[in-house]
């Protein structure tokens, strides 16, 4: 049984978040550049202490995760779940594993990845996406054109690979923010 789960995981900040009612106009403007569903979340209110970086980084996150075309949204969620597992971010893993399941309806596939990893992933496209994601996450300096070959064999074009690189890079960032600025609150039965 792995510590990674599809159950909702909470997050408690390690420093007091900005309060929406006392936020400065600059902080509110930066929050409004973030996805509507999360702009009043504890995490974004914590990031709002530095509105300049929140605004730019929030806008970048939106494009990388939600832009139309290019890499299938489910593949982006798969990739960001894999980055989060490699980095040990239980919170981010739960969020993005869940989105993958919502998009594909394939809960058994994601549960298997959470429990056992992707070494034996039977779907060649998912396997190629997960392996490339792991390589770029663990040791970016060692990645070469050779690492792209399995993605090409699985049919990914340049635009899809660019989106995949963006997703992996974004979660190198997101996991570090989540793991550093707060603690995960695990559901009952997960340790």
């Amino acid at each position: 049984m792995s510590r990674f789960t599809l159950k909702p995981v909470g997050w408690r900040p390690r420093l007091a978040p900005v309060k929406a009612e006392t936020a400065t106009p600059e902080q509110l403007a930066a929050l409004d550049a973030c996805p509507p569903a999360v702009r009043r979340s504890t995490y974004f209110l914590t990031l709002a202490h530095d509105p300049g970086s929140l605004g730019e980084r929030g806008a970048l996150f939106n494009i990388v995760m939600y832009a139309e075309g290019g890499l299938d949204r489910a593949d982006r969620e798969l990739s960001t779940a894999v980055v989060s597992m490699v980095n040990g971010c239980v919170y981010c893993t739960s969020v993005h594993a869940k989105r993958f399941v919502e998009m594909t309806g394939d809960e058994p596939a994601m549960q298997r990845i959470l429990d056992e990893g992707w070494a034996a992933e039977p779907d060649p496209r998912r396997k190629a996406v997960a392996d490339f994601t792991e390589a770029l996450t663990r040791d970016p300096g060692a990645v070469t054109a050779r690492h792209l070959a399995p993605l090409r064999a699985a049919g990914l074009d340049d635009f899809e690979i660019l989106d995949l690189i963006h997703s992996v890079a974004m979660f190198a960032n997101a996991n570090r923010l989540m793991l550093t600025l707060g603690d995960p609150l695990l559901p009952r039965g997960v340790s």
Partner: protein
Amino acid sequence: MPDLIEDLLGLAPDSAIGALRRQRPEALRHAEGAYRELLLPADPGGLSLAERAALARHVAAREGDAALAAHFAGLAPAPDPSPRLDALLAYAEKVAMQPEATAKADIDGLAALGLTSRDIVAATQLIAFVPYQTRLLAGLRALMQEKAA
């Protein structure tokens, strides 16, 4: 418009990979914007431009990106040695290389040195953004290598 990633890669905007990146123009714009906001902010608050450059340089070097590290080294003179700088660099090391090992005590330690919540969030955003850049650069280098083959 200047673009750090293209400068570091020696990538022409009208090259195959340059054109590919322009299929996601907002990703280009906001990656550059986040870089400028974190390394060259108009109002750096309590985290000086020299400290910011030193933290970014440390992370880029630890992640093995010599070109990115050299760029950060050229942004500002190295800050004078101090216990505060040592603590900031130790924080950068942990956040970048072992983020799962961070604890509330690390945040409290920065606050005890006089860093405000804004400074702590800015430092963390900065340290966490360099790993975005190193992976984007590495992925694009692989694509360039593939095209050149």
